[in-house]
């Protein structure tokens, strides 16, 4: 499972991997390619009023091994969660609440006056919240 892309451009802000896996690169690719779908979905709902927009994008696309979920904040920061296909304990609602938690944690990071938007996130509390969330879910 991994997360977080992008400000205005699709720039990687942070990628966190549970299971320090041998194949971290593959996750990077998965997250990166999922941005295609995110962009398409965002542009499709972009015409709706911003306050009515649902931030949670749902399942982006299924692959054989992973399920990729997406979430876009109003300032177009993208969160992506990748879950193992075999993991059936995480339903849509759990994923949604994970994104909410992630969003609020990310908002805290942004509120830090010393954080420069666009830089890679280096925050202990953010890290601990994210890793706690992932340990819990796995």
């Amino acid at each position: 499972m991994a997360l977080v892309g992008s400000w205005l451009y699709n720039i990687c802000l942070a990628v966190v991997c549970v299971v320090p896996t041998q194949n971290e690169l593959k996750f990077h690719y998965t997250v990166h390619t999922s941005l295609d779908v995110v962009e398409e979905k965002v542009s499709a709902v972009g015409k709706a009023l911003p306050d009515q927009r649902e931030l949670y994008l749902g399942l982006l696309y299924p692959t054989e091994d992973y399920k990729v979920y997406g979430y876009v904040t109003n300032s177009k920061v993208k969160f992506v969660i990748v879950v193992d296909s075999s993991n059936t304990s995480l339903r849509d609602n759990e994923i949604r609440s994970m994104f909410r938690k992630l969003h609020s944690s990310f908002t805290d990071v942004m509120c830090n006056p010393f954080y420069n938007p666009g830089d890679t996130i280096q925050s202990k509390s953010f890290d601990s919240i994210v890793s706690a969330m992932m340990v819990q879910s796995s």
Partner: protein, 1147 residues
């Protein structure tokens, strides 16, 4: 590529169509038969019935039918589906055999022919022994048949023929060989189609009838087989709904089979076939979601059915094929009109197929890497007697065997070994690349650029594994920039790593250097030790040595690469490379800036170049050069050191040329701009940094503009946003982020030290010579040479202003249209330090309005900059511009009035009138009217000598001067309606102007008059200007008849209180044409003062249109009456009487 065992058989993938055999046609030699055959097979569009026709000889041997089994009690099936079965029913066993026979109803040898035909039918029947195949006969006839029932012979003979051939009447057809062949053929084939439908219907029933004999324990395979066959026959019958139903139940049954290692492959193979059929039919029924759901179910069920561990690659190969064939089906459906979406398109299936193919490759390398002494087993366990398998998905060495354990363990081992050896020869990379490129094509279509890039990376990597390094390099290079712009460094680093290996193995020096530079630089996420290794290699390459090999490369390729690099060493030419850095993120950053956005020409232009290295080890460079838009300056912006090859590593004593990691180095350049470049921009076109040596191998890093690479724009943005405190670094160190690029500067002229002052009195008056005094004073320390003044109307204003403004330096001559609006480069000469000089400029503005004037002084001066003498030009623009308003000096109004100062609309011929001129001063300055003059036109005459009455008058602002001239209009020729009156001229000047100044002239055109002739103008003559009380005042009235007729005129005089008079009070008279009637009245004034004369009423009887008022207007109405001078004693009384009378009457 030859078909592999994993490819689906073509008979499975095709669309099943009813098979009808045509016999008795000689398509080679008989033209008629040929035409019939062509009509059958040509132009088979969708609207024709789905039949596959085949021409067979009459005695063709059809596949033998095995004897029907009556009991399944002891029967143990050997497999699920025979390999030949589908082909048999598609191409070998027809649903209907049609015999073509040439026979007319009235054939002479009817009997013989009939029996021949019957024989032929019999032959066909014999060879179809045991089959349910129908037989039909078509008689090819030359004549057009009569309508049914009319031809008695025909119906009789038809019945006879049917009888002889043992045919039902429905199976006998007549094909007249006439014009409408295609129409007949279509009717024929529809009839054939019906027969075929019946045949397949019967076949389905036959297969179904077996069911009751089967039991669940031993005949499980048959359940599947029968369902599959039923489905297939239904498809042949074109009943796809039922076909789908049967295939679905076959699919359900196949997963109920007991699966074990020996039959796993067979089960999967058949499951794959049935799944393919189901998906295909679902797409055909336009229910793609069903197809996808079926496929998902299929994969989920089969994913775990791994089969033998030693042959694991078989499972992945099969999985890969499943995804690929589903992708093909999906793609085909899209081509037929299905719409796919971004998240559900064939690309995903191709991608997954590639994924499994990669896994297969991995497993193959794991299981098939035998020792070299292991040889292919003999006899070949994969060989079969017939060359093909009997049943789909079985092992060649134990066909038909259905027990759980293999019958012969040794043969089993040999068979597995043979399969593994075969797998080794498979070109896995080729398969993977083909699948990936299919997926790329799909993702491109469905807007997934990142997915596409990802797949292209995979393709590149696969090419790398396949040792096609050049192709790999091409692909990787293509996608690299996408990842670079998205700043996904971890991915970029991985791609660069592969690309570096490829470039090493192919000996591409330039690519090797480029990738190394990027991998060593700040965008790379490699560890320090990896970076260090790469940098050392990079330095080796720069020193023209062979780099160390990259890790994880194929040993054979490495050897070849070392050879290639060795050759590169000896090459004399082609060792100079230029790398454009804006497309990558190299390990050296560069920023160049001019210290100021503009420099005066008399000060040196300063340029700083900042360099910084991000690599782990210090790096030396050989040359740093800045190229500017004017290349003459390039020589001043160059740092060079003739360094030897060997000391490229150790920091030399002259630290200038060495970049220490993490430290910013600054290089300052200074040059004096050329005077020609004044007003021009100097731009940095590029910055070049040379690494290596010119004699050996050298690399130019080329930064376009003032530096910056693929990543620096974003970094600059981040730096500008950053809240980080900028700590001052010790010494001369600079924070890199604080340096901003300034890639261009302007060379501007030297600041002039000269003062220009202007004296004038606005506003200007129209047409006057407006004087402006310009004072130029030099404040320079040396002589200002070639002082030039440009003065006049500022260009770029309204074009009309240029036409109506004229300037001159000379006041004595007039200033007319020939003079320009702007005087350029008036030579003033040299100015000594402190010298002052005055110039007068005269401006004439023809019309009013505000104008912007420009005063511009330029001069040359010599100056010394940086020990260089330069001649610089200076320009001084006096407050940029002066705006001057122009106003008219006065307004002149001209009007005509009668002699009684009444307004005149028209003028009567020969009747005097007045021209009245009012001059109203609008000038803010007093204006001196020098003279005025009237210039009359030829057909206008002055009554007396006109004289100016306003000459030498000075008008203050708002004052008005008036004068009038008495004029008369002589008779005009008939036809001319208007008459030009002439011009009125005023000459004037400003009061303050010296006398020498020429007066200016204003010409006013007097309006045209409309003279009318009067038929009977009455007039008085010799009326004195005044009268005296009680003194007789004789008045003569003349009435002239200018008409051509005798006019009768009534004249009457109205009495007046102020006058007594004698004369005709009322008279009627006739006046002859052309003659004048004189009437004399003797008035006797009674009162003093302005008095109305007794009114003379004249009415012309013939011309009642002329009112008497019109006639009266020519006559004086008033006269001033003076008091009589006191001559006698009694005069005072009289005077008193007058006064009293005056008071009494109130006049």
């Amino acid at each position: 590529m030859s078909p592999t065992q994993w490819d689906l058989p073509p008979e499975l993938c095709c669309r099943p169509m009813a098979f009808v055999a045509l016999t008795g046609l000689d398509v080679v030699y008989n033209a008629v038969h040929r035409a019939i055959w062509d009509a059958f097979c040509a132009n088979r569009r969708a609207d024709r019935v789905p039949i596959s026709f085949k021409v067979l000889p009459g005695d063709h041997e059809y596949p033998k039918c095995r004897t029907k089994r009556t009991s399944y009690e002891w029967y143990i099936p050997k497999g699920i589906l025979k390999t030949g079965w589908m082909n048999k029913h598609l191409n070998l066993v027809p649903a209907l055999v049609v015999l073509f026979y040439e026979l007319d109803w009235d054939d002479a040898q009817w009997k013989e022919k009939q029996s021949e035909c019957a024989t032929k039918v019999e032959i066909v029947r014999t060879s179809l022994q045991g089959r349910n195949t129908k037989v039909a006969v078509v008689l090819i006839q030359k004549k057009t048949p009569l309508p049914p029932g009319e031809d008695v012979v025909a119906s009789e003979r038809a019945a006879a023929l049917c009888n002889a051939c043992d045919l039902s009447g429905k199976s006998l057809f007549v094909l007249p060989h006439t014009d409408h062949l295609v129409g007949y053929i279509i009717r024929l084939e529809n009839a054939f189609y019906e027969h075929a439908q019946t045949y397949y219907y019967n076949e389905i029933r036959r297969v179904k009838s077996h069911k009751e004999f089967l039991n669940k324990t031993t005949h499980q395979l048959l359940f599947v087989r029968h369902q599959f066959k039923t489905g297939f026959f239904s498809e042949l019958k074109q009943d796809t709904q039922n076909a789908l139903k049967h295939y679905r139940s076959a699919y359900g049954l196949i997963h109920e089979l007991r699966a074990h290692e020996t039959n796993m492959l067979e089960i999967k193979t058949l499951a794959g076939f049935i799944n393919y059929k189901i998906c295909r039919l679902c797409f055909q029924h336009n229910t793609p979601l069903d197809a996808i759901a079926q496929f998902r179910k299929h994969i989920d069920l089969c994913k775990k059915k791994l089969g033998s561990g030693d042959l694991a690659f078989e499972h992945t190969a099969w999985m890969s094929k499943q995804f690929q064939s589903f992708g093909d089906l999906f793609d085909e459906a899209i081509k037929l009109g299905l719409t796919a979406i971004q998240t559900q398109n064939p690309g995903f299936y191709y991608q997954q197929a590639a994924c499994y193919a990669q896994e297969r490759k991995q497993q193959a390398s794991q299981f098939c890497s035998h020792e070299p002494n292991v040889t292919y087993p003999l006899p070949d366990p994969l060989e079969t007697l017939s060359g093909v398998l009997d049943f789909y998905g079985q092992r060649a060495w134990r066909q038909g065997h259905q027990s759980i354990d293999p019958p012969d363990p040794d043969r089993e081992k040999q068979g597995v070994l043979a399969l593994q050896m075969k797998e080794r020869s498979v070109q896995h990379s080729e398969l993977i690349i083909a699948l990936l490129s299919n997926a790329v094509a799909q993702f491109k279509k469905y807007k997934c650029p990142r997915m596409k890039s990802h797949l292209m990376v995979q393709m590149g990597e696969e090419y790398f594994h396949a040792k096609e390094y050049t192709k790999a390099l091409k692909l990787l290079d293509y996608v690299m920039c996408d990842y670079r712009t998205e700043r996904w460094w971890s991915l970029l680093t991985s791609i660069l790593g592969t690309a570096l290996k490829c470039s090493y193995l192919t000996g591409h020096v330039k690519d090797y250097i480029t990738y190394s530079m990027e991998l060593v630089g700040r965008a790379s996420t490699l560890r320090e030790d990896q970076k260090s290794r790469i940098e050392k290699n990079l330095i080796r390459v720069l020193m023209n040595e062979v780099p160390e090999e990259e890790p994880n490369c194929d040993a054979g390729s490495v050897r070849a690469a070392q050879g290639l690099w060795g050759e590169r060493l000896t090459l004399a030419a082609g060792n100079e490379f230029t790398i454009e850095v804006q497309d990558c993120v190299p390990f050296i950053q560069c920023k160049a800036r001019f210290l100021s956005p503009s420099f005066h020409v008399d000060e040196p232009v300063q340029l700083h170049v900042y360099l910084r290295a991000d690599c782990p080890h210090p790096v030396r460079f050989a040359k740093l050069g800045v190229s500017l838009s004017n290349q003459e300056y390039n020589q001043y912006c160059l740092v060079e050191e003739a360094c030897k090859v060997k000391d490229i590593l150790e920091p030399s004593s002259q630290e200038n040329m060495c970049l220490v990691p993490g430290k910013t180095r600054k290089y300052c350049f200074k040059f004096v701009a050329k005077t020609e470049d004044v007003g021009r921009k100097i731009e940095i076109t590029h910055v070049d940094l040379m690494l290596g040596v010119e004699s050996g191998r050298c690399v130019y890093l080329n930064w376009r503009g003032g530096g910056g690479d693929a990543a620096s724009a974003h970094e600059a943005l981040q730096a500008s946003r950053s809240f980080k405190r900028r700590t001052r670094l010790p010494g001369q160190q600079l924070e890199w982020d604080t340096v901003s690029v300034q890639a261009s500067t302007m060379v501007i002229s030297r600041v002039p030290r000269i003062s220009v002052q202007l004296r004038h009195e606005p506003p200007a008056l129209t047409n006057e010579m407006y004087c402006m005094t310009i004072t130029i004073q030099s404040e320079e320390d040396t002589v200002a040479r070639d002082v030039c003044l440009t003065a006049g109307l500022k260009p770029g204003q309204d074009a009309n202003l240029t036409q109506t403004t004229h300037v001159t330096l000379d006041s004595s001559e007039g200033c007319d249209d020939a003079h320009p609006a702007l005087l350029t480069d008036i030579v003033v000469g040299d100015l000594q330090p402190g010298q002052k000089m005055e110039k007068k400029l005269y401006v004439r503005c023809v019309n009013t309005g505000s104008r912007i004037f420009l005063f511009h002084v330029s001069y040359a001066i010599s100056s010394t900059v940086e020990g260089k003498d330069i001649a610089c030009k200076c320009h001084k623009v006096r407050d940029e511009t002066v705006t001057i308003d122009t106003v008219v000096p006065f307004e002149v109004a001209v009007k005509f009035v009668s002699t009684k100062f009444e307004h005149l609309e028209r003028v009567y011929v020969d009747v005097p009138f007045l021209l009245m001129v009012d001059i109203l001063s609008a000038s803010p300055w007093p204006v001196h009217l020098v003279d005025s003059q009237i210039q009359l036109a030829s057909n206008m005459a002055a009554v007396d000598l006109p004289q100016s009455q306003v000459a030498a008058v000075v008008l203050q602002t708002g004052e008005c001067a008036s004068e009038c001239f008495s004029l008369k209009c002589p008779p005009v020729q008939n036809g001319t309606s208007t008459v030009a009156a002439g011009h009125y001229l005023i000459s004037w000047k400003r009061c303050v102007h010296p006398l020498t100044c020429q007066p200016l002239l204003i010409i006013v055109t007097v309006p045209v008059v409309l003279p009318l002739s009067h038929p009977l103008p009455p007039r008085t003559s010799e009326l004195p200007s005044f009268g005296r009380v009680r003194e007789s005042l004789p008045v003569w009235y003349h009435i002239e008849n200018r008409t051509g007729m005798v006019q009768e005129v009534d004249v009457s005089v109205e009495p007046s209180d102020a006058f007594m008079f004698s004369g005709l009070k009322q008279v009627r008279m006739r006046i002859l044409p052309g003659s004048v009637q004189e009437m004399v009245y003797n008035f006797y004034p009674l009162m003093a003062g302005y008095q109305n004369l007794p009114l003379l009423n004249v009415s012309v009887l013939r011309l009642p249109s002329i009112p008497s008022q019109l006639l009266q207007r020519f006559l004086p109405t008033r006269i001033f009456i003076k008091v009589r001078p006191p001559l006698h004693q009694h005069e005072p009384f009289l005077t008193l009487c007058y006064v009293m009378h005056y008071i009494h009457t109130g006049c």
